[in-house]
């Protein structure tokens, strides 16, 4: 049996959805994009152009829900299936768009450079339990107008895993699409084998900016998957109650779904989000708050009820260093996410309210993800019945270390984490230098990066990617890209 957790009854889910639908139809959504307003107007939504507000109809919502696929897959840069976003499958991806990196040497947070990013993406290539890469950091050494596309470029150059990403401007979508076409060869191939997924965020409460709503349309036109990242802040920009915040999250997410599906019915989407309980003491948005995690799991239940695959920013921490808080908040989140069957879990590597990335934490989190994935494998009999012969063998041999049954099921039944998670006895741990978790993780980062192998893309594709990126950089006044070797 696959273990699961539920926070909402079916009845409560249906009530939340009904209330959200009413918000969309009665209060409407503020959308700062004339194309999107016109699109909704064409489908009989009432539009108040002066207030930039669209009032949805039940028909628009129903049709969007019917059109959206219940699952889809992401493919790596070589075209092989890498991420299965269906049913209760759980896939991990690093947290995204940190503006800082935790420097292991100084233990200070600083702006990431292109070299940091390359190190990250090389590391990502080796992390077994993290299925896709994300554009995890914003390099500070390139022009801000290419800081989104440049991340995608570096990711494609050094790691084959699909990329969870996003555009910071409307204009950036074009180059980000071109980079993908350079890898896939054609629009048809890109649509059939999605390489990236774009995060698109409404603004709380019930608003879409010009950029993010245009990103939805642009992605839909090329069947590039998107994940909606609605961010109600309980008690501040959303009701204090988790149910009230879930109503808002549902409404904002359904409004995004409608924009995507009306643009291109059947375009792949994830029912995602990044809600948070607002901390009234520090004016912060803790991702490690237990209420935040409960909301993530609950809206995933709502998404699944609506027949959609899901995503959440969960399994990350608000700690500033790789400390006990970082470990426990990440583990709690990752465990709950997996039990909820959230299909794309965005979190590993992230600290400090989604603002600071740590390569050492990423390595630790990879092991946490391994443990969690083992957990959702559940407890199943594996030639365990009848049990009598096994116990006869145990009594006869005195142990089962080399039993055929042990050899057959050892790898499948037992997940062995490490080397970041410590399982040595004290004497051996001392003999190996009494190293802290941070020291073990840092060493593992260096080891994995040193083992990096070039990606399998042809030299022509790699050279095309570089030409595209260089042209984009020149367009923004950068004569050349930063040194990354």
């Amino acid at each position: 049996m696959r273990p699961t957790v539920r926070f909402l009854s079916d009845q409560l889910i249906e009530q939340i959805i009904a209330e959200a639908r009413q918000l969309l139809c009665k209060l409407g959504v503020e959308i700062h994009n004339d194309t999107v307003l016109a699109l909704l107007g064409d489908h009989s939504a009432r539009i108040d152009n002066s207030a930039q507000r669209a009032y949805f109809t039940p028909d628009i919502i129903d049709r969007s829900l019917q059109a959206a696929p219940d699952s889809f897959r992401l493919y790596n840069s070589l075209g092989n299936e890498a991420v299965d976003l269906s049913d209760m499958n759980v896939n991990f991806t690093p947290g995204s768009s940190a503006i800082n990196i935790l420097d292991h040497e100084s233990q200070h947070s600083r702006r990431p450079t292109s070299k940091d990013y390359v190190k990250y993406t090389k590391l990502m290539a080796s992390l077994e339990h993290i299925a896709s890469q994300s554009t995890a950091m914003v390099p500070g050494d390139v022009h801000e107008m290419i800081s989104d596309s440049y991340r995608l470029y570096l990711s494609l150059m050094f790691c084959e895993k699909p990329v969870v990403t996003g555009a910071f401007t409307i204009e950036a979508f074009e180059i980000m699409k071109e980079l993908q076409l350079a890898v896939r060869g054609s629009e048809k191939e890109l649509a059939e084998r999605p390489l990236t997924m774009f995060s698109c965020c409404p603004t709380a409460p019930l608003k879409w900016s010009n950029v993010t709503s245009q990103n939805l349309i642009d992605c839909a036109r090329y069947s590039i998957p998107v994940e909606y990242i609605s961010m109600p802040l309980s008690g501040f920009m959303a009701p204090i109650t988790l149910v009230g915040s879930l109503v808002q999250h549902t409404a904002e997410t359904l409004s995004g779904l409608a924009i995507s599906q009306l643009t291109n019915p059947g375009t792949p989407v994830l029912y995602g989000g990044s809600p948070a309980v607002f901390d009234v003491r520090y004016e912060t948005t803790p991702m490690g708050d237990i209420g935040t995690m409960m909301m993530d799991c609950a809206y995933s239940e709502i998404g699944k009820h609506l027949g959609l695959p899901t995503q959440a920013y969960i399994g990350l921490s608000d700690a500033k260093l790789l400390d006990a808080q970082a470990g426990f908040e990440t583990s709690m989140g990752a465990t709950l996410a997996a039990l909820s069957g959230i299909n794309n879990v965005s979190g590993p590597g992230m600290l400090d309210f989604e603002s600071c990335f740590s390569l050492e934490k990423l390595v630790l989190d990879n092991e946490i993800c391994g443990m969690v994935k083992r957990m959702v494998g559940g407890i199943e009999p594996k030639e365990d019945f009848p049990s009598l012969p096994r116990f006869e063998e145990l009594l006869r041999e005195g142990h089962l270390l080399i039993s055929e049954h042990t050899m057959k099921y050892l790898k499948e039944e037992v997940y062995l984490p490490g080397p970041t998670i410590d399982r040595a006895n004290r004497s051996r741990w001392q003999e190996e230098g009494s190293r802290t978790l941070g020291e073990r993780a840092a060493e593992q980062v260096e080891t994995m990066v040193a083992q990096h192998q070039p990606v399998g893309l042809s030299d022509t594709v790699l050279s095309d990617l570089t030409s595209l990126m260089e042209a984009e950089a020149r367009r923004h006044g950068m004569s050349r890209l930063p040194e990354i070797r």
């Binding site: 700062h32 768009s97 503006i99 800082n100 702006r111 914003v138 801000e144 107008m145 800081s147 910071f168 401007t169 603004t203 709380a204 608003k207 900016s209 802040l233 008690g235 501040f236 920009m237 009234v280 003491r281 520090y282 004016e283 309210f353 603002s355």
Partner: protein, 212 residues
């Protein structure tokens, strides 16, 4: 208990109706408007700020107190103007061009007003020209800029550059805030203070005005 003390206590508890009533009562009793402002209202907000820092009260309570203070200020303001007492400071606030995220900025505005400052809120998506035009025409002391996006943060630098260009940089202090901001970034773009929350924004402005 005298009127000013009751006024201060009611303001700290966020009882806006009582604050309006007691402010009027203090005026009727012949209290100087400046004394009511300093002793009861500004003094009361200082207590609220201290309690917030110690986690004895939380942000919602601070906001309620600030809003209650507005109720008193509405009555005092015309009298202060009549007495020729200058405002303690004027702040122009706005979310920078390209950015729709105004919650942090709104919070700062409420708290600044609560601390007795005049606030000219330019809203969101505010261009550098609009910031400077307003600051000059309103004779503001401080410009407060907010951004939530890494792509809109650079607008802040443009606003400060424009102040230099127009030769008004020395007359103005710049405070900046928002999720992607940092002290280092604020220094890099030449801002006078990075404010990590609304209360720290008020403290910065108070510091600037004290120095004036």
């Amino acid at each position: 208990m005298d009127t000013l003390q009751r006024l201060s206590e009611n303001m700290q508890k966020g009882n806006a109706d009582q604050v309006a009533r007691l402010t009027q009562q203090a005026i009727d009793e012949g209290c100087e408007p400046k004394t009511i402002l300093d002793d009861a209202l500004v003094g009361g907000m200082a207590v609220v700020g201290e309690k917030f820092k110690k986690h004895e009260i939380f942000l919602p309570h601070v906001l309620l107190a600030a809003k209650a203070m507005h109720a008193g200020m509405d009555l005092l303001k015309p009298l202060l103007v009549k007495d020729g007492i200058p405002t303690i400071g004027k702040v122009v606030t706005g979310t920078v061009q390209g950015d729709l995220h105004d919650i942090g900025k709104n919070l700062v505005g409420i708290m600044l007003k609560g601390a007795g400052f005049d606030v000219i809120d330019l809203g969101r998506d505010v261009s550098p020209e609009k910031f400077l035009d307003a600051a000059v025409s309103e004779k503001a002391n401080v410009i407060g800029m907010s951004a939530l996006l890494t792509t809109t943060m650079p607008v802040m630098k443009k606003v400060i550059a424009l102040a230099h260009e127009r030769n008004v940089r020395n007359q103005l202090k710049f405070i900046v805030g928002g999720a992607p901001m940092s002290k280092e970034y604020a220094q890099e773009i030449g801002a006078d203070a990075y404010c990590y929350d609304a209360v720290s924004a008020v403290e910065s402005v108070k510091r600037f005005m004290g120095a004036h």
